[in-house]
Amino acid sequence: MSGRPETKPPEADEERGAPPSASGPPSEAAGLRAMLWPRANRAQLVVGLLCLLLGFAAVAQVKSTKADTGFVTARQDELVGILSDLSRRSERLRGDIRDLEGTKASLERDGQGETALEEARERAHTYGLLAGTLPAVGPGITLDITDPSRRVRADVLLDTLQELRDAGAEVIQVNDVRIGVDSHFLDSPGGGVEVDGRRLQAPYRFVAIGDPHTLATALNIPGGVMKTLMGAGANGSITQHQRISVSAVRS
């Protein structure tokens, strides 16, 4: 920042009559005062205009930074991920709209309540599956746990069950016990595990209906269920099925 020295009339400071500040030498105070004193020539106006522009731009930028939700700073691949998530979601929602509109149309068409009955039956079936009162068939996996050293306790089985639920398993059966929302696991005093009051002995067999690949992946994650089983000296084997049936029901 070099340039020719500023010419400033020293008498201008005297006219304003401000006393020189006690701390600095008079020339400093005079410099400050001269700087703050408006001198309207064209160059000063241009400087002022540029500063106006700077203030305006800064405020505009601050406002837009506050307004946006972080998309500006997101990387390109993140944006692509967000976009594909959104389009997948909107696709799904559009499918839902189509289904619901179809239902609505058929409800309107039918006077005898045939469609309504069908809907109700379908809903009852869904609830029955969730509550465990109906047998179910669908794609899924079986997980066979052999436990030669008898060290698989109730908590390991519970972890396995939760992992399956997290991975989206809809219907689950352990040996011949259908799992419901209030199922519990207890260590049985004489060895084995008590599930909902029924004593089970190894080998344990989980049958879970859900996306087979997702379920298998969830069980196989590092440090997950399979590793825990291995650590307990047990052996788990997962088989994926395109069609598997859960026949046990809860009363």
């Binding site: 920042m1 070099s2 340039g3 020719r4 020295p5 500023e6 400033k8 701390s23 600095g24 400093e28 410099g31 400050l32 700087m35 703050l36 004193w37 408006p38 001198r39 309207a40 160059a43 000063q44 106006l45 241009v46 400087v47 002022g48 205009l49 540029l50 500063c51 106006l52 522009l53 700077l54 203030g55 305006f56 731009a57 800064a58 405020v59 505009a60 930028q61 406002k63 837009s64 930074t65 307004a67 500006v72 990387r75």
Partner: protein, 110 residues
Amino acid sequence: MIALIGLVAGVLLGLLLQPTVPLWLQPYLPIAIVAALDAMFGGLRARLEGIFDEKVFVVSFLSNTIIAALIVFLGDQLGVGSQLSTGVVVVLGIRIFSNVAAIRRKLFKA
């Protein structure tokens, strides 16, 4: 003084008009603002040292902002936009710090 009035007026205008930054300007405006800040502090320092020149200020202000925006633009084209903007911000930040340090020394003798 006019510069200060201009700055305050700009901030007030911005608050009153609630401008939105146009999309094509969005990647470059933050960097340009930092560059302009650097020019402003440089100008203030020169003013305190008694070597301020309006022409130098105007030219450095404009060239700083334009070059900063150009570098970011070039970086975006080359695919290193974020790294390059980080570099520009670091350099400008160092310059702002040294300018403010000089101003401080001039004003407070410390």
